[in-house]
Subunit: 205 residues, 4 copies
């Protein structure tokens, strides 16, 4: 990669990073392209060399940031010293890790949550947008394969869990409504386990 390419990458990264900061703090509708380029220190025209419009940069960020959440959670799980946790335990661990990341960074939750459509989510989890985007789908398949239990409709199961968790955590983390996140967590984990069991295929012994 030449010096020129580096330079190019630099501008794009500056734009992405600046946009992310602004979207988090001001929200997308209150953030103008002027805001972004001013703070990124590039010219207005340059923006259009890399992105179609505000929503283009936005979508790419959503994917990237959601992916990062899962990457970090998976990393934490992999460094756990314990024996062979069950599939259920792995899922709860992943969810807990993601929740803790969001609790530590509520602006990120604000940024992601209401815009995490299944379409974007699947993209983020399975296709590497950037160079080396993390692929959670593969990992999920891996967890399933290594599980002693078998599950029907694993995609629906994952979809349901993702929707439940992302939906339920939003208001408790950001507004402590109807209760704060720590209060609701045990119930949420119990519900997730119940849902997983609903999808479990009972095997004849």
């Amino acid at each position: 990669m030449g010096k020129l390419d580096d330079n190019k990458k630099q501008k794009q990264d500056a734009l992405l990073e600046t946009a992310f900061q602004l979207f988090m703090t001001k929200g997308i509708s209150k953030t103008s392209i002027s805001d972004i380029v001013d703070r990124a220190g590039v010219a207005k025209g340059t923006f259009y060399l890399y992105f179609k419009d505000k929503y283009d940069i936005y979508d790419r960020l959503i994917c990237h940031k959601a992916s990062e959440l899962f990457r970090q959670a998976a990393l934490e799980l992999s460094t756990q010293p314990d024996g062979i946790p069950s599939f259920e335990d792995r899922m709860v661990f992943i969810i807990d890790s993601i929740l803790n990341q969001l609790i530590a960074n509520p602006d990120l939750l604000k940024f992601i949550s209401k815009n995490l459509s299944w379409g974007i989510f699947k993209t983020a989890l399975s296709t590497p947008v950037y160079n080396e985007e993390f692929n959670f789908s593969q990992l999920y398949a891996n967890y399933l394969a290594r599980s002693l239990e078998k599950y029907s409709q694993p995609e629906i199961m994952l979809f349901t869990i993702v929707e439940l968790v992302s939906s339920v955590c939003y208001s408790p983390i950001l507004y402590k409504e109807p209760v704060d996140i720590e209060t609701i967590k045990p119930y949420l984990f119990a519900n997730v386990r119940s849902i997983i069991r609903d999808f479990r295929i009972e095997v004849e012994k």
Copy 2:
């Protein structure tokens, strides 16, 4: 009620109805106040006589329309001829009714779903915004009271179910993603029942 009051109500209703149609088809951000007043056949200033801004009319509509969904579902439940359905059965019936309404009117789902924050939801369900807004909270309490089973944290339970259902149904109804709504329904109902059972207080016999 005099002629003047009638006229007043008429204008406001025209604005509400027109705004609803436009919000459903174009979305709120693409709908301008000019659009609304033009199609409602009133002057621009008249809008500001009744509403603070676009989001004021929007919030009132969200409340009203969400409330209508529950009112209709409750009405259907009350006209069922059967014996004494359990609390679980009642909840599933209500959810099914609401889902069917949304399936029949996907634009309404588009309009409501992503904006049904718990704050607005609670308002819509418990406080009569307009003259005779429907009150689901009361009905929910009533279902609980009439149930043989007892439940801990009924508010968290309701919150969880509402979030799960509204979140899970969105993409399947609108985009058949990851599967169509009819495919996912049985799983969803099973999950709802599991969640309800998670909140059930086991009583010693």
Copy 3:
């Protein structure tokens, strides 16, 4: 005067008083007719029964309030116990009294000063706008007549003094710029006396 007339007078007075308060605090351009009628507790249409527009009520107020300043000053002068003050002394006394009133009520100064055109001023001083508006012109003529000294062009003299004083006091009272009012007062009085002497007709002994 019948009850009806009383009522009529009441509404008008309420409008005048409310408008004055608002003009003083918010300034005329930031004060709308809606503001005035809302706070006065009358209907919008009623405003137009008594006043042509915002500037009509404004002009009447300027006249009235300026007149009040002079009335008060003259009253204070008349209650002074001393012997026969000279014309110069009378003028300085009047000015001092008016300045003290404005120092005590800077909002009134803000309201009046920049809009005290000679046209309005003369009207205020000579023609009774309201029932019994105070007439300073008469008093001024009276002071001159009772003076031992004679003056050429008394109207120009009065005009010059009024412009000098109202212009010079504005910024020192409101912003202490370039110096505060108490610092500039002695100079101002000396200047006024010099100007009066400039207009004095020297009589051969």
Copy 4:
């Protein structure tokens, strides 16, 4: 300076000049930004590239135009062939020159007068707003230094004279009220001289 910079300066100048014309004829409140850009032949957005709002352009114009009056007066004084005029004579000359400029251009008087606060005035006279704005303060100090007579409180003296002259000339020039400007001039000059003498420090011989 490149072609681009030239163009930039041109647009800004066009806006300043057009705004000045409109403010003079219609007054600031009746002049809209649309009026200005339409007549200047630039797009609306361009206005906001150079000015914050209507009042920004206004303030800059006031400063500039007031400054020009003094610059012209000083220029005329400097080209007088006579010997060593006294401080008094210089001041009266400057005032006469400015009055004559305003008599020749009453719209300019209308534009400037009622808005020439001491704050703006000092700014206009002492700080070079644009590239080469004229600095009267320096010249005033220079006149004082070269005078044989000494004066106490020269800033208050200047302030008083400026306020007196600008205030007294307004109505006579624009409306011949209470008398026309030529009638009042001799009195005004006499008053100015008296005021200057009031500030003179008598030196023991």
